[in-house]
């Protein structure tokens, strides 16, 4: 049985196809561009094409992410916290703590051995604690997104940002530039500040190993390093982590489909 999870995020829409709740067949993503449902449709088509699926092959579709209600052709929607936890636990079965840093928010999630959410906390007050902030920094520091991480990694004395506001933090960074703080130090400071905010979320729910990093920022080596340095612990990070919520949604969809139809599976 093939199930699909669609994570309609605010920055990127991610999709995952899972076979029999055990094997990842494929993943795909597209930028959201303000229109989650059409990006979602495209991701679905991308996946269908890559796997040569025909209508009827897909047993169940479960959405997640901020746009989970905006995709009409779904059977179920689950919150992206539930699905990230599930997905992370699938990718790294020893995971007890999931840190999800996406475009607009960061969440720390404590989970059970089966991937069930025990406790979670997300940043609410301000958007300064997430990926969108890195994008903005890239924009006004005129460093392409692709180069941000690599340049940050050469930092000698990272310069932390104290402002809690994304907008005021920009000014702080500009001041740092004016004071001729080397660019890598500023960039690494950005990642470390993000990691520190994430760390306080993690402490709130209680830190326990293993920690698995998911969300778009797993692609950034600098972010991974910053998190590791801040929590003083090993942190799992792999690029599939970006698809954790989509994978989790597909898995939850599978569970649901099984329960609905009995072990024989659904055919439609």
């Amino acid at each position: 049985m093939i199930t699909c999870g669609l994570d309609l995020g605010s920055g990127v829409v991610k999709g995952a196809l899972i076979e029999d709740g055990r094997k990842i067949l494929n993943t795909a993503s597209r930028p959201t561009r303000g229109n989650p449902s059409s990006a979602g449709q495209q991701v679905l088509e991308d996946l269908a094409e890559a796997e040569n699926l025909v209508p009827g092959d897909l047993a169940y579709l479960c959405t997640t992410g901020f746009g989970r209600y905006m995709f009409p052709n779904r059977q179920l929607q689950v919150s992206d916290i539930t699905s990230s936890a599930k997905g992370a636990s699938f990718l790294r079965p020893g995971t007890r703590h999931v840190l999800d840093i996406g475009a607009q928010s960061s969440r720390a999630i404590r989970i059970s051995p089966t991937g069930k959410v025990l406790k979670f906390k997300m940043n609410e007050k301000c958007a300064a604690g997430a990926g969108r902030f890195v994008e903005r920094c890239s924009k006004y520091l005129q460093v392409p997104m692709e180069d941000m991480s690599a340049r940050a990694l050469s930092a000698q004395k990272p310069k932390l940002i104290s402002s809690v506001c994304a907008v005021l933090a920009e000014t702080e960074i500009i001041n740092n530039v004016a004071e001729e703080v080397p660019l890598p130090d500023i960039l690494m400071g950005v990642y470390l500040s993000l990691a520190q905010r994430a760390y306080s979320l993690m402490r709130y729910v209680g830190i326990e190993s293993e920690i698995t990093l998911v969300g778009g920022l797993v692609h950034s080596e600098a972010m991974v390093r910053a998190v590791r340095d801040t929590v003083h612990m090993g942190v799992n990070a792999q690029s599939e982590g970006h698809y954790a919520a989509a994978i989790g949604a597909a898995l939850l969809g599978h569970q649901r489909a099984v329960r609905l139809s009995g072990p024989a599976g659904v055919g439609n």
Binding site: V78, S79, F120
Partner: protein, 419 residues
């Protein structure tokens, strides 16, 4: 045109009895507000109540004053409104400004890092919405409420303002005499507004009316607790809040009708998580947020929403009524953020959750509400020790985007329901 006529009973317990000679004041509400008492069914009463709550110009108080009476406004959480009732005043509970009030003046006087209810209450006062009230009573539930009284005393120099110091020492033998004296100061001020003296008999009568009202609300809350599918949290809340704005004599027939009707309801039981709401004892979550909580998969089987009516059970009527009222406050076992707690909080929250047979606790605290925020930490410890799941959300009056809250409540529900 049907007018809502609330016959002024001067605190008598004759609830449904029509006043023989409608002595002043008679309450005439404007034509667009239909007769609450005469509404045929619960749904209609609830709709009217919702309209009443949303109307930030306090139509009931305006009507009361237009009829020659005086109205007194009380800030949450607990105040002895019986006293105002016995003096023939219309006691109204201040509950903030709701979703639609724009705050443009109050920020300046109060500061930015404060809860919405304090700001919106002040905004209402500055913009004249509280003009019908001749008295303002603020209990010392927190520093904000306390200081608000000082600002009101400047803003409305001709009105009665009183910062009510409710004792925080519940074991001293002198707490009751002190509270009697403190109530005495309030009585004096309210007497000035009412233009008459408080008689023991009138107060005893009022105690009885309020006892009856508390009993009715307790019955409704019991339904909520035992058969939550029969009565939505939002419905119960509206029924309670009707009493914030109209005299008990008007509210009680509605409550009685509601009780009869709700008991008969046949509604399917949902697969929802039983939770208690802890924290919103002062500022109120919006109607939409409350219904979102249930929509997202919870049954609210216990809450702190209208604490005024739950602070005590039956207050004895014989003897000195003022002392009875004071004693009842001191002896009440209520444990919420605005009262020093005898029992460790970690223990008390677990007991409360168990008592309500709740599967989880939803902390719903107003942004910047320090009494609520500080308690959550101790509560959490107790719940962690007993492996009772919980979720902490903050709210404000003016937030129309509930996406974040929805996400978190759904996750919470999923974490309890899914394996």
């Amino acid at each position: 045109m049907t007018l809502l006529q609330i016959h002024e009973n001067r605190g008598s317990a004759r609830v449904a009895a029509p006043a023989e000679e409608p002595s002043v004041p008679t309450m005439n509400l404007s034509s667009d507000l239909k007769e609450v008492r005469a509404t045929r069914d619960l749904a209609e009463a609830l709709k009217l109540t919702k309209e009443l709550i949303q109307d930030s110009s306090f139509p009931t108080a305006r009507a009361w004053v237009a009829g020659g009476g005086h109205a007194a406004a009380f800030f949450p959480v607990y105040t002895p409104q019986e006293i105002a009732h016995a003096l023939g005043l219309l006691p109204v509970s201040l509950r903030g400004g709701g979703e639609d009030l724009e705050i443009t003046h109050a920020d300046a006087a109060l500061g930015s890092f404060l809860c919405s209810i304090s700001k919106s209450t002040l905004e209402l006062a500055i913009t004249g919405k509280l003009d019908p009230f001749g008295a303002f009573v603020f209990p010392y539930i927190c520093d904000v409420s306390r200081n608000l009284e000082g600002i009101f005393s400047r803003l409305r120099p001709n009105a009665v303002t009183h910062m009510l110091h409710l004792p925080q020492n519940f074991t001293s033998a002198s707490s009751v005499p002190f509270l009697v004296a403190e109530y005495g100061r309030l009585v004096e001020k309210l007497e000035r507004l009412a233009g008459q003296r408080l008689s023991k008999e009138a107060l005893a009568d009022s105690l009885q009316v309020y006892n009856r009202r508390r009993a009715l609300l307790a019955d409704l809350a019991a339904i909520r607790r035992n058969e939550p599918w029969k009565l939505a949290a939002t419905e119960l809340n509206l029924l309670e809040r009707l009493g914030d704005l109209v005299p008990p004599e008007v509210q009680m027939p509605v409550l009685e009708r509601a009780l009869r009707e709700v008991k008969e309801r046949q509604r399917p039981k949902r697969d929802a998580v039983r939770v208690i709401l802890v924290g919103p004892f002062c500022e109120q979550p919006t109607h939409d947020l409350l219904s979102l909580i249930e929509e997202a998969g919870c049954y609210v089987v216990g809450d702190e929403l209208s604490m005024l009516h739950r602070w005590m059970g039956d207050v004895p009527v014989s003897g000195d009524p003022l002392e009875n009222l004071a004693r009842a406050y001191i002896r009440s076992p209520v444990d919420i953020g605005v009262r020093a707690t005898p029992m460790p909080k970690g223990v008390s929250i677990v007991a409360r959750a168990k008592e309500a047979e709740a599967q989880g606790v939803l902390f719903l605290t107003a942004k910047f509400c320090e009494p609520a925020l500080e308690d959550v930490v101790l509560y959490r410890k107790g719940l962690d020790d007993h492996k009772i799941p919980y979720l902490h959300l903050e709210f404000e009056e003016k937030s129309t985007s509930y996406e974040q809250s929805r996400l978190q409540i759904e996750t919470f529900v999923e974490s309890v329901l899914f394996d």
